[in-house]
């Protein structure tokens, strides 16, 4: 599903990602964890072209994005990748001038050029799935953070993505609202969705993810296929240090 080869990313002189290579098969749920500033979010944002690659190559769903491509080719590749990739942001980024159902329908109408009735039908089904059917005509500003994030998930799912990217989806939420969002994500994982999740929710990562990528200083330090084992006894010193810090609370 995803192949990353020698990905590097710099902001000016500052290199945030160093030579990252990794393969993620379909239906895998990958949690990316690590200290802040380790490049987790940048890595995720490279996967759907929200950040420009400095060097290296990314293949998502058979569409290849190469840092050496010409601008036009690159735009086409990014566009193709985004057609099959949903993304959920830390700050939700719902469209504030549109109602809940309009948020979910927007790309169906604009990108897929679907008929309004069909789009409405799909949007309603998805909003039911995330438990917000009664809020369809509300504006995002009238919803709690947790509700907004569930709408954002429904909006991403509307495009029937083969891959979902989550960029710290619960970090901006009040603690009591985190659970609802994580439940929706857990259901999604159980349905077999391929997911890459940047998160600070260690329990969620341990219980739901199939695989942990531990990042620090712009590198993948540890690639753990067994999350439970990773959280009990990480192999690398850097990860041990991190897990110990997290467990102190």
């Amino acid at each position: 599903m995803i192949t990353v080869e020698h990905l590097a990313k710099s902001f000016g002189d500052h290199e945030v990602l160093h030579d990252i290579s990794i393969t993620i098969p379909a239906h895998e749920v990958v949690a990316v964890i690590g200290p802040s500033g380790s490049g987790k979010s940048t890595f995720l944002r490279c996967l759907n072209g929200l950040e420009q690659l400095t060097s290296g190559k990314i293949t998502v769903n058979n569409h290849t994005l190469d840092a050496d491509m010409k601008k036009r080719q690159m735009q086409q590749a990014i566009f193709a990748i985004r057609q099959h990739t949903g993304m959920v942001f830390q700050q939700f980024n719902l469209y504030p001038h549109k109602t809940v159902i309009e948020n979910v329908m927007e790309s169906l109408l604009v990108v897929k050029e679907m008929k309004k009735v069909d789009a409405e039908k799909r949007a309603k089904a998805l909003l039911e799935k995330v438990g917000l059917l009664e809020k369809i005509d509300a504006y995002p500003s009238h919803l709690s953070g947790g509700q907004q994030q569930r709408v954002a998930i429904a909006r991403a799912l509307a495009m029937e993505p083969a891959l979902m990217l989550f960029d710290e989806p619960t970090s901006a939420l009040d603690p009591e609202l985190v659970g609802d969002v994580l439940n929706v994500m857990k259901n999604l994982a159980e349905d077999g969705m391929t997911m890459v999740i940047v998160t600070h929710e260690m329990n969620f990562a341990r219980d739901v993810a199939d695989r942990i990528l531990f990042m620090a200083d712009g590198k993948i330090i540890e690639d753990a296929k067994n999350p439970k084992q990773f959280f009990e006894a990480p192999e690398t010193a850097r990860a041990q240090q991190f897990i110990q810090k997290v467990n102190e609370f």
Binding site: R82, N93, V111
Partner: protein, 213 residues
């Protein structure tokens, strides 16, 4: 007072031209201003520089000079415009620069995440601008653009200098006829004020309508 009542039709006709010139210039100025703002924010470096140069020249020169250039200056090139079209063109060009600045600020105050969310969900940059960013920018832009329009209404008095018989010139002609200043200038001051209030009222309505979310 009697003088005003005797000449109310003439003054009203002046107000009609003032309003007409304002609305026409607002309309074209708004369209031109939006295009310039988008060019300034989203254009390539040539486009951005053109937009910046335009705004800087228009804001850095007196509107009266701009009006004279369009009306008298263009006739040197064999383009002899009638006063009213010349007034509308000059004021549209003028107001476009101010609309562009207001709208540029508004475009930049739409959070970056809005564009990213739209792109991530498969839209092209153009679709994202049209459907997501510009509608939100409109809402931010209404108050400053509203101020610009009210300012514009008053600025139309400048086109009296090229013999457009709008409100200002109507008063000047009456003054010349009756040799008395105060009643006519007071009368048009009231009329300008009423029209400004009317614009402010409409803008308030639009703003309210756009603040449903």
């Amino acid at each position: 007072m009697q003088l005003i009542l005797d000449n109310w039709q003439f003054l009203l006709q002046g107000a009609y031209y003032t309003l007409m010139i304002t609305i026409i210039s607002m309309f074209f100025g708004l369209i031109l201003g939006l295009l310039i703002a988008i060019l300034r924010v989203k254009g390539n470096s040539v486009g951005r520089n053109i937009a910046r140069f335009y705004v800087s020249i228009i804001r850095g020169t007196p509107p009266l000079v701009q009006i004279f250039i369009v009306y008298y200056g263009l006739s040197d090139f064999g383009l002899q415009l009638e006063p009213i079209p010349a007034a509308c063109i000059a004021l549209s060009i003028n107001i476009a620069a101010y609309v562009a600045e207001a709208f540029r600020g508004a475009l930049q105050s739409v959070p970056k995440g809005q564009m990213e969310a739209a792109l991530a969900s498969g839209m092209t940059e153009g679709q994202a601008m049209r459907r997501i960013v510009i509608p939100q920018a409109f809402r931010y832009a209404i108050p400053p653009i509203g101020n610009t329009f009210v300012g514009m209404l008053k600025e139309t008095s400048l086109v009296s200098a090229i013999a457009v018989t709008e409100l200002m010139r109507a008063a000047q002609l009456l003054v010349a006829q009756y040799y008395t200043y105060l009643p006519f200038y007071l009368a048009i001051a009231v009329m300008y004020w009423v029209m400004s209030m009317f614009f402010t009222f409409i803008l308030g309505k639009i703003e309210k309508k756009l603040s449903v979310y």
